[in-house]
């Protein structure tokens, strides 16, 4: 009985912890499949987490926070799209710049709003999400999979990243497809961020994403740039995270394993997955071009 309880709580924790990863990796999916490398997911997530927490707290409503994350994500995505698509800036460098920009901007705004550079004030427990983002993450993956393989615009996305010349030859603007995809990438990743601040926690705290943007990118690559496998990879990484939390404070004999040592588990799993089990993962051919 106790064992079953443990399994259930571990499974539930996995699903909860996977939510931000799933959103972010679907964001990465949109952008990378359209041919734009996206290492800015981390920044998008932070922006979403922050915008969601501030608006959610101000109006005592997680849903308004969710809407704010949408707008913040759209703005971040469009900003990134402008530099990479219109100005043809290097995608990796621009992505890292976006991350740094967001990391610097948030404490600045927090200082103005709350006269501190740390966390934002917390929502009341009954105001934050209980399970909704989790459900939406599943719906998003299902919808994206269907859209990608069944509709005309899904085909456009696939070709934008694989053979943009062929898309141009068919009279579809690669530029527009990429703009749409990268902007949506911002939205999805921002929702991932705000699932952290409004669902897993109830406020924004500095650097709360803790590299999840990159983990989501790793999941995407591990899932060979496909929505469903990427989703499963997110579950794997989240499971490692759930186990890690469960293992904190564990003893071997009289020796307590340092908590920092246990906390690296999800990252180690990510590295092993990428380095060891990836097999033949083929990036979209026009990625980064």
């Amino acid at each position: 009985m106790e064992f079953m309880l443990l399994v259930f709580s571990l499974l539930f924790a996995t699903l909860r912890l996977a939510t931000p990863l799933i959103f972010a990796s679907m964001g990465g999916f949109m952008s990378e499949r359209s041919g734009v490398v996206n290492v800015a997911l981390e920044g998008f997530m932070l922006a979403g987490a922050f915008a969601g927490a501030v608006v959610g707290y101000s109006f005592d409503s997680a849903w308004l926070g969710w809407g704010a994350a949408l707008i913040a994500g759209l703005a971040m995505g469009a900003f990134y799209a402008f530099f990479t698509i219109e100005l043809k800036a290097d995608q990796i460098i621009t992505g890292m710049a976006v991350n740094l920009l967001v990391m610097g901007l948030i404490p600045f705004i927090t200082k103005i709003l709350y006269s501190s550079t740390g966390s934002t004030p917390a929502l009341l427990l009954e105001d934050r999400f209980r399970f909704e983002p989790m459900l939406m993450a599943f719906i998003l993956v299902t919808a994206l999979t269907y859209w990608l393989y069944k509709t005309r615009s899904g085909l456009w996305l696939l070709f934008a990243g694989e053979h943009p010349e062929a898309l141009v030859a068919s009279g579809v603007s690669v530029r527009k497809v990429r703009w749409a995809a990268v902007s949506l990438s911002g939205v999805f990743a921002a929702w991932g961020g705000t699932s952290l601040s409004l669902f897993l926690a109830s406020s924004y705290s500095p650097m709360m994403t803790g590299g999840r943007g990159f983990m989501a990118l790793a999941a995407l690559i591990f899932g060979k740039w496909r929505p469903l496998p990427a989703f499963l990879a997110c579950l794997l990484f989240a499971f490692a995270d759930a186990v890690q939390i469960r293992l904190q404070g564990m003893h071997i004999g009289n020796f307590e394993i340092p908590v920092q040592f246990i906390q690296i588990l999800p990252y180690v799993v990510t590295i092993i997955a990428l380095a060891g089990f990836i097999g033949k993962s083929r990036a979209p051919k026009a990625l980064g071009k």
């Binding site: 509709t151 005309r152 085909l155 694989e162 053979h163 010349e165 062929a166 009279g171 051919k285």
Partner: protein, 492 residues
């Protein structure tokens, strides 16, 4: 003429800065005919076709379709006017199905579902109508080049195009696939389609087309009915002079000095293999290896140069060679060069340990550049600028540099794999000349080619490779196109 020509160019010019890519180009193409557009690389034939397809807009002159003036601002306009083009590099995405690649072309709202089922049926019946065999559900990467080309043609036909432009369609095909392609094209013509084919293979022009237009240096220099001309005339018009007849060789094969020996060699690579390969190459000899690509040529090359690339422990037999081995790779852009790096760095590849070019772990960049300059002048690789990125050179000049890099090191054994693929007549003459020169200076040359003409002009002996075995050997006086072609196809 009572029926207006399907296509007519009147005084069309196109400039790129100082370069006159097309100047005052005029010609017409009769409806329902196959029309050849020939010329060397850079003669302006591609520019003219890109104007017709809406990729470029003319600076002067006018294009007419069926007697009506047209001005396409993009390929979309051209396609709407029922003009379609099969590009030399296919517009197909490899990881997706043939069907999806064709569906991409069709208009429809962004969020509408793809009509896969109905379109598959429609395309299948269209393909059957024209006698194509195509599996629409297979991924493009699993299709042969010939099949991919059929997908491209079907793509155009599915839009009811009346005019088809094919850019160097036979360059990537095996002889058998070329025959299939020609059969299909003739059939399309008989259905009333007008077909333009850009090529520099004159034999194909003679066997396939109804009329031919010759380009040289941006101008139209000739317009003939195919029955009224022949290969020599066309070649003369293209180049502007009679192609030089190669002199008969003045040296003889040194039968007593073998420099490369394959004895009972068997090996495999990927999903193909060779078995029991035996041959000897002598000094001052050119030994041709004929065969359609994929019959084991790559294994022979690797058995000599890089056994570790072969399938683990599949190699048996002995390969002995004397002296320095040099090679031109069969696909220069994949195996031979770094396209985005400067020419002098590409020239260095393979000679980086030569003390002439290095001091300890450092390169003597100045010496490398001046040596590259010297070689580029000697082998006339244009433009004579070693600092340019390699990819800025034309195909012919790229290959000349690759040939120069190898032959300037004075190798004893030369592996020349497809040495003139994708280069124009001028460069072919030059490269053949260099190969003969290397032979006369004492090298032995293993010439691996799928071009019968090339094999027959250069080789002293020809071995035919089919499915990993040597199935026939011909000495120079036995050379015969039909016999060679048959044994390349596995026949007797």
């Amino acid at each position: 003429m009572t029926i207006p020509a399907a296509i007519e160019f009147k005084g069309v010019s196109k400039f790129f800065g100082e370069v006159h890519a097309n100047s005052d180009v005029s010609f017409y193409v009769a409806k329902g005919s196959i029309h050849g557009i020939v010329g060397e690389n850079g003669a302006g034939k591609s520019t003219a076709m890109k104007i017709l397809f809406g990729l470029y807009q003319p600076d002067a002159g006018q294009v007419f379709l069926n007697g009506k003036p047209v001005a396409f601002s993009s390929p979309i306009d051209a396609m709407n006017a029922k003009v379609g083009m099969v590009h030399q590099h296919f517009m197909l995405a490899e990881p997706y199905t043939a069907l999806d690649n064709i569906l991409l072309q069709q208009k429809g709202s962004a969020f509408s579902l793809l009509p896969r089922k109905e379109q598959k049926a429609r395309l299948q019946s269209l393909a059957e109508h024209y006698g194509f065999s195509i599996n629409l559900d297979s991924l493009v990467e699993d299709l042969s080049v010939g099949e991919q080309q059929r997908i491209e043609i079907l793509k155009i036909l599915s839009q009811d195009s009346e005019i088809l432009i094919l850019d160097e369609p036979s360059a990537v095909l095996t002889p058998q696939e070329v025959q299939d392609l020609f059969k299909n094209l003739r059939r399309l013509r008989d259905e009333g389609k007008t077909i333009l084919i850009i090529t520099h293979k004159l034999k194909e022009v003679m066997s396939l087309t109804d009329a031919v237009t010759v380009f040289r240096a941006g101008k139209v220099v000739g317009h003939k009915k195919t029955v009224d001309t022949n290969c020599e005339d066309l070649a003369e018009m293209m180049v502007g002079r009679r192609p030089q007849k190669p002199q008969e060789r003045s040296t003889t094969v040194d039968e007593k000095s073998p420099i490369l020996k394959f004895e009972n060699v068997s090996a495999s690579l990927g999903n193909h293999s060779v078995a029991n390969i035996n041959f000897t190459l002598h000094r001052r000899e050119i030994l041709g290896i004929a065969g359609v690509e994929g019959n084991g040529q790559d294994i022979i090359i690797r058995a000599l140069l890089d056994k570790s690339a072969l399938k683990k422990s599949s190699f048996v037999g002995t390969v002995t060679s004397t002296g320095l081995v040099g090679s031109f790779p069969e696909d220069r852009l994949r195996f031979g060069v770094l396209p985005s790096r400067p020419i002098y760095e590409n020239f260095l590849l393979g000679q980086q340990y030569n003390p002439q070019f290095r001091r300890g772990i450092f390169l003597k960049v100045r010496q490398i550049i001046s040596r590259t300059q010297e070689i580029m002048n000697a082998y006339d690789v244009r433009p004579h600028n070693p600092l340019l990125p390699f990819e800025k050179l034309s195909g012919g000049n790229q290959q000349k540099l690759v040939v120069a890099r190898t032959l300037s090191q004075k190798p004893d054994v030369v592996i020349a794999a497809q040495p003139t693929r994708g280069v124009d007549i001028g460069a072919v003459e030059f490269i053949h000349g260099e190969i003969r020169k290397a032979r006369d200076e004492g090298a032995g040359i293993l010439l691996i080619s799928s071009e019968l003409d090339e094999l027959m002009t250069l080789s002293d002996r020809i071995l035919v490779l089919y499915k990993g075995k040597i199935v026939a050997e011909f000495t120079r006086k036995e050379f015969d196109e039909v016999a060679l072609g048959t044994s390349m196809g596995g026949g007797r």
